[in-house]
Symmetry: C2
Subunit: 172 residues, 2 copies
């Protein structure tokens, strides 16, 4: 089972954006710099988060990205599904119906037990991801992370955030 | 998040092998036929299961595959890890250390909270897979599956299993 590398970048960026003041934004280039990533690579994942309405993109010279809703209302599951898609990891190809064992189609109305068991495990995975809010990640970093690292991240956000002249304040 | 297609084939083959008599085997070609798969494609996954000691491979003209241990002692997790590898789905690239936010290495001794949260969810997934035994899959199929489909599968196994003249009986 594999998750794309974009998941790590997406969660880190969302956590960083949880730290901007009010309705300020940060540019994709600044976040790419923060994590040593190529801006074009990161753009793809920022777009996925924007499409999923986790981020909002503000146009213009002082534009950039900010959270579209409060960090308390964003879970790790939201971010993982935004980047990886909503399809189950286990894709049932109905191979039970492919060979000579196949009988009348009416025998396959009920889902295959193997598929059902695999999807049940995925529900447990998703439930665990849904329990973790972005605000938890940030709070844990503040409380448990190395204080020098936390201070350096805050200073980076402070330097790169872009205050907005107008527009609705971020709802936190 | 994606699981390879081989997982479905591997679980179906293991479930089919749970139905052979005593220490009989089935050939990879027969199982490929049962599920409409290419024998060379399936061989890769049968080899993975053999390497993981879920199956054993018996050489010779009457050879083939059989379970290496009782179906009660094989879980879906065993099979998924055999096919997909044991690495976590979430690969932490330590991007927190890549950019200018990086400080002294001593600040990163503790795992990143994002990595920890993602791995915790994977533990929930793996625990759910570990709860399902291969024998449960077979028992559910017998009890809940379409009886015509179950009978057709049993007849296929009956026709294709290869009794062994010697060797230890399967420990079930």
């Amino acid at each position: 089972m594999k998750l794309g590398e974009g998941v790590e970048a997406a969660i880190h960026c969302a956590a960083m954006l949880a730290g901007v003041d009010g309705n300020s934004t940060m540019s994709g280039a600044a976040m790419a710099e923060a994590f040593g990533l190529s801006p074009s690579y990161l753009l793809k994942h920022l777009n996925q988060l924007t499409t999923a309405r986790i981020l909002e993109s503000v146009p213009g010279p002082a534009g950039g990205y900010r959270l579209a809703r409060a960090a308390e209302q964003i879970t790790l599951l939201d971010i993982v599904l935004a980047v990886e898609g909503r399809e189950p990891a286990f894709r049932c190809g109905e191979i039970r119906q492919r060979g000579p064992v196949k009988i009348d189609a009416s025998a396959y109305v009920k889902p295959c037990g193997i598929n059902a068991a695999m999807l049940k495990a995925e529900r447990a995975y998703r439930a665990a991801l849904a329990e973790v809010k972005l605000s938890d990640i940030v709070a844990d970093y503040a409380a448990e992370g190395d204080p020098r690292s936390f201070a350096a991240s805050c200073a980076f956000v402070e330097r790169h955030q872009r205050p907005q002249k107008s527009g609705p304040p971020k709802q936190i």
